[in-house]
Structure formats: C-alpha cells, structure tokens
C-alpha cells in the first residue's frame, strides 16, 4: 500500500519536472530495493529477537531437565519434566518469604515516594519566592550524585538508626533516595494543573490539606503512574543496596536469595535455573500485563528527566 502510494508521488514528480530523466529509472529499481530492504530488516530483527530470548529460553528449557540430561544435550527438549528442580529452588530460596520481603520493600518505598514527593512537588511548584526555589534546588542538586558516593556513609547511618536487616527499613531508605527525582517530575507536571482550581477550592472553604488530597492528588494520576512504574522497577531490581542493608536470610529479597543460592550451589545448574525462572516470573507476568503503561512510563520519565 505505502509502496504504491510512494511510487505515485514519485511518478507525479517526474511528470512535472522535465529535467529529471533518471528518476524514473531510480523509481522502478527503488521499489524492489525497498522490498529487499524491508525483508532484510525483518530478518535482522528476527535474528536479534532470537539472541535476546536465547538466555531466557535456555534457562526455561534446562530448568526442567535432570542434571544428567542437561549434560547430554543442552539444546534438546526435555524427555521428562523434572519439576523437582523447582521444589528444590522454592525451598532453598525460601521463595514465598523472599517474594513477600521484596513486596514489602517496594510497597513502603513506593507509598512514601508518591505521597511525600507529590506533596512537596505540588507546593514547591505553587509557591513563588526564594525559599521555594532554594528547597527545589536542594532536591534537584543530588540527582547527579552516583549511589556509590553515598553508600558507605548510608550503610553506617542505617545501622545507627537500626534499619539494617529489615525490609521495612530498606523501604524507608528508598524513600530518601527516590524523592528527589519524583519531586522534579511532580514539580513539572503541576504547572499544567490550572491554578484556578486551588483558588476556587479555597474560596469554598477547603483547607490546604483537604485541597491537596481531594482535588490535586487525583489530577496528578498520569505522572503518578509514570513515577510508580519507574520506582517500582528500580526497587524491584536493585541489588547493591539490599546486599548492604539486608544482612540476614530472614529479610532477603528475591534477588538476594537467588544470589545466595547461586553462591552456595555453584554447579547445581538445575536448581539455579529454576530459581532464576522463579525470580523472573513476577516481573515477566507484570510486564506482559501492563506493557503499554510501562513502555509509556519509561519514555515519558526519560524525556522529562
């Protein structure tokens, strides 16, 4: 369809211009060239997709094989399904508890970041003056500091405050690490919310906090979704901070218990691969369900910050 439309354009062009004698020639070969190009692009994408999925496929495939079968043919489909690997991994990583810990960390962090950052971002955006821009600058300033430059002292502070070894404690740390970027995003978004709304509500005798919770917060939903997705992904997949903060097995997140299993059973690939699949599962399911929002949130967040 688009090919014929283009050739129509090109044709119209040549008939109009008297000087271009070669372009007719170009056009007929250009069409086949374009088709060839499109086919080779498709082929390239297929190849890239195979490479991308290969490790995940191999992990899935070999997670249901016995160790012996894996050794004889690593690429073949399994002859019998060995779900014992999964039972093994489930037990060794204490899967349900690790999953629960991960959820707690992300929930505490997310709730704090969204609530506190939206409050601050909203008020900072609405209030003019030196104090407001100073505070905003204070938050924005830190976005360039690499995590490694603060981690050593952060570990010290969190152990002094008794947050070490607790999933809730880790969630609290994430609030402090995550609010700055979220405030920046809220600050920009609030500018698009008409000020007249605030004034009308105040005239109606609405208090400041009621105004924020009842009128403003629901209007911030689009940017809240973006912020929630970005922070959720970050906290769910972060490894270094949990490694430093969650010091005992009881508080391990999914990544930490998977890492531990990998370290302890270095050559038992059946159990390791099963644990990798188990660790991936929640994320992949969520991704396939919410893909549209996630991809939108990612590009939105990247462009705005």
């Amino acid at each position: 369809m688009s090919g014929s439309a283009q050739s129509y354009h090109a044709h119209a062009h040549t008939s109009n211009s008297t000087t271009n004698s070669t372009s007719n020639n170009d056009n007929s070969s250009g069409k086949t060239m374009r088709r060839l190009g499109s086919a080779s692009m498709f082929l390239f994408l297929i190849l890239a997709a195979v490479v991308t999925l290969f490790p995940i496929y191999m992990a899935l495939l070999n997670s249901v094989k016995t160790q012996g079968e894996m050794l004889t043919n690593i690429l073949a489909l399994p002859t019998t399904l060995e779900f014992g690997n999964y039972a093994d991994a489930f037990r060794k990583t204490d899967y349900m508890r690790s999953l629960w810990n991960t959820v707690v960390v992300a929930a505490v962090g997310l709730a704090g970041i969204i609530l506190f950052a939206s409050m601050a971002g909203y008020k900072l955006s609405r209030t003019p003056g030196k104090l407001s821009s100073f505070l905003f600058g204070l938050f924005v300033m830190s976005t360039l500091i690499p995590f490694h430059s603060i981690m050593i002292t952060l570990v010290r502070i969190s152990s002094d405050m008794g947050l070490q070894g607790s999933a809730v404690g880790l969630g609290l740390l994430y609030i402090g690490l995550g609010v700055a970027v979220a405030i920046f995003l809220y600050h920009g978004f609030v500018k698009s919310v008409p000020k007249e709304l605030d004034e009308a509500a105040v005239i109606d005798g609405c208090g400041e906090f009621k105004l924020y919770f009842v009128v403003i917060l629901p209007l911030l939903l689009p940017i809240t979704a973006t912020i929630a997705i970005l922070n959720m992904l970050w906290m769910w997949n972060d490894f270094l901070l949990p490694l430093l903060i969650l010091t005992d097995f009881k508080s391990y997140t999914l990544l930490l218990s998977t890492n531990m299993l990998f370290g302890e059973y270095n050559n038992d690939w059946s159990a390791i691969l099963a644990s990798l699949v188990l660790a991936m599962l929640p994320v992949i399911v969520l991704y396939l369900l919410l893909q549209k929002y996630i991809l939108h949130g990612i590009s939105e967040g990247a462009i705005k910050s």
Partner: protein, 296 residues
C-alpha cells in the same frame, strides 16, 4: 495589620509543612551521606574503630597511585566507550527497523524491551549458563573454536561477556526512547526527501538523525550515567575477577569498603573521585550536545 502578617507568614509555613516529610527522608538518606562521604574521605576511618583522624588529601593521593584502582578506572573507561557507541547504535538501528515494520512491530518491541525488566543479576546468571555450559557444548558440536574460549575466566574475553550482558539488558530501554523520537518525525518530511531522490542512508543522515537529536542527547546521557556506575553486570558474571582483572570502579570501591580492608575513609575518597568524573563528563557532554542541537 495582623491579617496581612498572617497572610504573609502562611504560605512559607505551609510550604515547609508540605515539604517537610520529603525533606526529612532526603536529608537523612541522601544529603547527610553525601556530605558524610566528603568528610570521611579526608579521614583514616576504618569502619570498625569509632575513632579516626583527619588525614587531609592523603587518601586522594594514595588512590592516584593505587595500581588496582587505576586499572579499574581504565577498565571502566574502556567499558563506557564501547557502551556509548554500541548501545546507542544498536538501539537506533532496532528503532529504525521496527518503525519500518507493519503489525510485527509490537512483538519486536515487547521482546527487545523484556531484558530491561530483569535485574542484571538474574540476567548475568543466565548468561553465565550460556557462556560456561551452552557455548562449550556448541563448540563441541560445531567445532567453532571461538565458542570454546574462556568467556568468564579470561579477562581478555570476559570484557566482551560483560559488554554483551550489559547491551542485552540496556539496549531495549534506549530503543523505546528512540522509537518515541522517531514517531515524532513528520512523515511529510521523509516523503519530501525521498521524492528528491534521497537514499535510505542520506535520508537517515540528513533528515531523521537531526530530528531525533534531542533523543540522542538523552541516550548518550543515560548511557554515560549508567555505565560509569556499572556494578551488577560485573558482579554477577566475574565478580571482578579472576584476581582483580575485570574490576570496575564501583566494584573496586565496594571491595575496599566492605570486603578486603574496611578502609571506609580511603573507599570514600575513591567514591568522590568517581563522583567528580561523572560530574565533569556530564557537564562536558551536556554543553557539547546542546551546542550541536542548536546548530542542527
């Protein structure tokens, strides 16, 4: 008189009330550790002993003569250079090709972005399986000697294993950004150029690329920012080894502080050097790209 005063006071008091919770968390877990990091980098604090002395800039001087730290700097710079070119080039290529597809584009986008959803710890262990189990098997079957190299154990090759893992995990993110940018390029512009006889490459070089320049700025910025701080990919594949041959800056700092010596003060100085490098490069990059953007 009274009313005007309360009115004047109220906005800033309200402001503080709204900002306070965020500010408290931010000060405790970002600002204080950052300032603490600068402070401790000037001391000989070892983490175990509560007492420490000020040692001035001697930690910084020592770091500049620390063979392993300098090696990790060099390794990181090499990694960043490769990532900068490859990650952006591959992401743009994928975005261009996907945008040229019909109905299959949704599938491709879903697949290429998927690794980005996973932690590079998980991804690293999966690739470890590929490098140490699948590759030797394939080498046996096909006789390709390249597959039989020590992709994890030999630093000459494991650099590329780390690179491959990082690209696998990172390309999809940039691809999404480039796709969004490409969708913003007006169709009429491309059509006009192809009517004028522009080939695919000329079209890209003179029409598409200038139009997606802002996205390229973001892509370069994000790549620089993440690859200087690379940790997970190295930790899961080689752990910095064998020996210290594949250590990146972040691993070197991590080990200095938490594994080998507990020299918190010295490790803090290294962390500040990393901060300085990231700052300088970001500023240079933003200045250069902004200038080119204006010209384009």
């Amino acid at each position: 008189m009274m009313t005007t005063r309360t009115r004047k006071l109220k906005p800033s008091a309200m402001l503080l009330l709204f900002v306070l919770p965020a500010l408290a968390f931010y000060c405790a877990f970002t600002l204080a550790p950052a300032i603490g990091g600068i402070w401790y980098s000037l001391t000989d604090w070892n983490g175990l002993n509560p007492a420490y002395r000020m040692v001035g800039f001697s930690n910084y001087v020592e770091a500049m003569g620390d063979r392993f730290f300098l090696k990790s700097l060099w390794f990181t710079f090499k990694f960043v250079a490769f990532m900068l070119v490859l990650q952006n080039a591959i992401a743009i290529l994928l975005a261009l090709f996907i945008e040229a597809m019909g109905r299959s584009r949704v599938w491709f986008r879903t697949i290429f972005f998927m690794p980005n959803m996973l932690s590079l710890i998980i991804g690293g262990f999966m690739w470890m399986f590929i490098f140490t189990r699948v590759f030797p098997y394939l080498a046996d079957q096909t006789g390709w000697l390249l597959l039989d190299e020590s992709w994890i154990g030999d630093p000459k090759y494991s650099f590329f294993s780390i690179l491959a893992l990082s690209l696998w995990g990172g390309v999809g993110y940039l691809m999404v950004i480039y796709i969004a940018a490409l969708q913003g390029v007006p169709k009429t512009l491309k059509e006009a150029a192809s009517i004028d006889g522009a080939g695919a490459f000329t079209l890209f070089r003179h029409v598409t690329l200038p139009m997606i320049y802002p996205a390229l700025t973001i892509g370069v910025f994000l790549t620089l920012n993440s690859s200087f701080k690379v940790f997970d990919a190295v930790y899961s594949l080689t752990g910095g080894g064998p020996g210290r041959s594949t250590q990146v800056i972040a691993i070197n700092i991590f080990e200095e502080a938490f594994s080998f010596s507990n020299r918190y003060g010295y490790a803090s100085a290294k962390a500040m050097i990393l901060f300085g490098i990231v700052m300088i490069i970001t500023i240079i990059q933003l200045a250069v790209m902004k200038r080119r953007e204006v010209r384009a």
